[in-house]
C-alpha cells in the first residue's frame, strides 16, 4: 500500500525527482502494469511447459471450423477466408493470419480450395507465408496455389464490391471472417447468408459484433478472437497464454471491484485520506 501510494504520488506530481532523468514522468504505474502482465503470461507458459494440464472451456465457433471446411470439401466449393481489412500493423490482422494458418492446414488436409482476398499488399504477402507453411506442414505443397491469396484494393468498399460479387458467383460453402472489420461486416455476412454458407466470424471491433452475431452461425466476441489461435493449436505453450490472460483478467476484475468500493467508502464516509487515494489512483491510471 505504501509502495502504491509512493508510485501514485510520483505520477501525480511529474516533477518528482526520484526517477532517473531519461525516464518519462508519469509512466511508473504503466511500467509496473506491463511487467505484471508480461510476468503473468510468461509464468503461465512456463507452468504449461512443465506438463501440468490446462483445461480450457469450449469456444463454440471454433469447433465449427473443421466441420465447415469438411462440408466445403464435400460440396466441392471453396472456403473463403478474410483476415480483416486493416494492415499488418494491426494486431487483429496478425491474429487473423495466425487463425488463417490453422484453417489453411485443415483445408490442405481435406484438400479444399481456400480463397483469401486482401485489402493490403503486406497482408497478401504475410497470408501467403502463413498458408504456404500450413500446406508444407500438411505435406501438400503441390496443392498450394499462391494466386488464390491476392490483393484487391486498399479501398474498403471496392473490396466489398469485389468480395460480394465473388460470393455470389463462386458460392463458397464456408466463410471465415477473422480480423479487424468495419462496415463491410454486414454486407459480407448477409451475402454469405444468402448463399447458405456456414459462417464463423471473430473480431475485436465491438461496433461490428452485433452484425456478425445477427448474420453468422458463430461469432467470437472480442477477447475470444485472440484466444482462438491458441485454442485451435492446442499446444501447451499457447494454452498457457490463455491462462496468463485469465490471471491478468482476474487482477483487473479485482481492481474494478476495489475501485468501486473504495470510491463508495470515500463518498459515504467522507474520509479525506481515502478520497485523495481514489483521486490519485484515477489520475495515475489515466482516468482524469
Amino acid at each position: 500500500m505504501t509502495f502504491a501510494v509512493t508510485i501514485l504520488a510520483q505520477d501525480a506530481a511529474p516533477a518528482a525527482g526520484s526517477m532517473p532523468g531519461w525516464f518519462m514522468p508519469g509512466k511508473g504505474l504503466l511500467a509496473i502494469s506491463l511487467i505484471i502482465v508480461a510476468a503473468a503470461v510468461m509464468l503461465s507458459i512456463l507452468w504449461a511447459r512443465s506438463g501440468r494440464p490446462i483445461r480450457i472451456r469450449k469456444i463454440a465457433g471454433l469447433d465449427a471450423v473443421d466441420e465447415a471446411v469438411g462440408r466445403a470439401t464435400e460440396m466441392g466449393r471453396p472456403v473463403l477466408f478474410i483476415p480483416g481489412i486493416q494492415d499488418v500493423d494491426n494486431i487483429q490482422t496478425v491474429a487473423g493470419i495466425t487463425i488463417l494458418g490453422k484453417v489453411a492446414k485443415t483445408a490442405a488436409e481435406y484438400d479444399a480450395e481456400i480463397e483469401v482476398p486482401t485489402t493490403r499488399s503486406l497482408v497478401m504477402t504475410t497470408a501467403r507465408e502463413a498458408v504456404h507453411a500450413s500446406y508444407l506442414s500438411a505435406g501438400r505443397t503441390d496443392s498450394y496455389n499462391p494466386d488464390r491469396i491476392y490483393y484487391v484494393s486498399d479501398e474498403q468498399f471496392a473490396f466489398v464490391a469485389y468480395t460480394g460479387g465473388l460470393m455470389q458467383r463462386k458460392r463458397p460453402a464456408a466463410c471465415f471472417y477473422f480480423g479487424c472489420f468495419f462496415a463491410e461486416s454486414l454486407i459480407l455476412a448477409e451475402n454469405g447468408n444468402s448463399i447458405g454458407a456456414i459462417q464463423v466470424a471473430g473480431t475485436a471491433e465491438t461496433t461490428q459484433l452485433p452484425f456478425f452475431v445477427a448474420s453468422c452461425d458463430y461469432t467470437l466476441i472480442g477477447e475470444e478472437f485472440f484466444a482462438a489461435s491458441a485454442y485451435l493449436s492446442g499446444e501447451p505453450d499457447q494454452l498457457g497464454t490463455l491462462l496468463g490472460q485469465d490471471l491478468v483478467k482476474g487482477l483487473a476484475w479485482a481492481a474494478v471491484l476495489v475501485a468501486a468500493l473504495l470510491a463508495t467508502v470515500a463518498a459515504v464516509t467522507g474520509h479525506e485520506g481515502i478520497a485523495s487515494f481514489v483521486n490519485g489512483a484515477r489520475a495515475a491510471l489515466g482516468g482524469g
Binding site: M24, Y150, L186, F226
Partner: protein, 234 residues
C-alpha cells in the same frame, strides 16, 4: 535459419518499441516507425499492383468467363495511375507556377479529381448505403425471441430504434417529463439510459478483455511464440 533470424529481429525491435514509451532518448522512434511503416506500405503497393495486374491479365489472356470486366479493371487502373502521377488537368501551385507537378493532385477540375468524384466516390458510397437494406433483412430474419439473450438483443434494438426518432417521442409523450420518478420511462430517455448504463458497461468490459487479448498476442510475437506470419522461411 532465415525464419529464426527474422523472429529474433521481431523480438528485438518490439522490445525497443516497448522502451520508447518510457525512455526519453528513444521517444522519437515511436513516431518514426509509423512513418517508416507508411513508406514500406507505399512500396508494398508495387506488390499489390503487380498482383492485381497479373491476376487480371491472366484472365484476359485465357479468355476466362468475364475477361471483359478484367479488361475494364486493368484499363481504369492504369488510367488512374497515369493521370494521378502526371497530375493531368491539375494546375500548379500558385506560389510556384513554374513547377508543373507542384499542384494539388485532387484539384477540382483535374482528371484525377473527376475519377474520384464521379467514379470512386459514388460507387463506394452506394455500396455503403446497401447496408440500409441488409440491416432490414437481417433484423427480420435474426431478431426472433428464441431465448432470454435473443429477447434482450431484439428488445434493446427495438427501444433504441424507436427512441431515436419522432415516433418514439410521440408514443410515450403521455408520461410526464417533469416527474423524475417516471420520466425515465419515456422512450427517448430509456434509450439514453441503455446507452449510458448497459452499453457502457458491456463496451468497457469488452475493451478491458480486448486490451488483455492484444497484450497477450503481442507478447507471443515478442517472445517468438507466434511465428505463423513468418511462414516456413525455407
Amino acid at each position: 535459419m532465415g525464419r529464426n533470424a527474422a523472429a529474433v529481429l521481431a523480438s528485438i525491435v518490439g522490445l525497443v518499441m516497448v522502451l520508447t514509451a518510457f525512455a526519453r532518448p528513444l521517444e522519437f522512434l515511436g513516431t518514426a516507425v509509423v512513418d517508416w511503416f507508411n513508406v514500406l506500405a507505399a512500396i508494398a503497393f508495387v506488390l499489390g499492383g503487380a498482383n492485381l495486374l497479373k491476376m487480371n491479365l491472366l484472365k484476359i489472356s485465357a479468355r476466362d468467363a468475364g475477361w471483359g470486366y478484367s479488361a475494364v479493371t486493368v484499363c481504369v487502373f492504369l488510367v488512374t495511375i497515369g493521370v494521378g502521377l502526371l497530375k493531368v488537368g491539375a494546375h500548379p501551385d500558385p506560389l510556384h507556377p513554374d513547377v508543373a507537378l507542384s499542384g494539388d493532385k485532387e484539384a477540382v477540375g483535374g482528371a484525377f479529381w473527376w475519377l474520384y468524384e464521379y467514379a470512386m466516390s459514388p460507387i463506394t458510397s452506394t455500396l455503403f448505403a446497401l447496408l440500409a437494406f441488409y440491416v432490414a433483412s437481417a433484423a427480420f430474419r435474426a431478431f426472433r425471441a428464441k431465448n432470454t439473450a435473443a429477447i434482450l438483443l431484439l428488445g434493446t434494438a427495438f427501444i433504441v430504434l424507436l427512441g431515436r426518432v419522432y415516433v418514439g417521442v410521440l408514443l410515450t409523450s403521455w408520461i410526464p417529463a417533469d416527474n423524475a420518478w417516471v420520466s425515465w420511462l419515456r422512450l427517448e430517455n430509456l434509450s439514453g439510459i441503455i446507452m449510458a448504463v448497459f452499453n457502457n458497461a458491456g463496451t468497457r468490459a469488452m475493451m478491458i478483455g480486448i486490451a488483455i487479448g492484444i497484450a497477450a498476442t503481442s507478447l507471443k510475437i515478442l517472445v517468438g511464440l507466434d511465428r505463423s506470419y513468418l511462414g516456413s522461411g525455407d
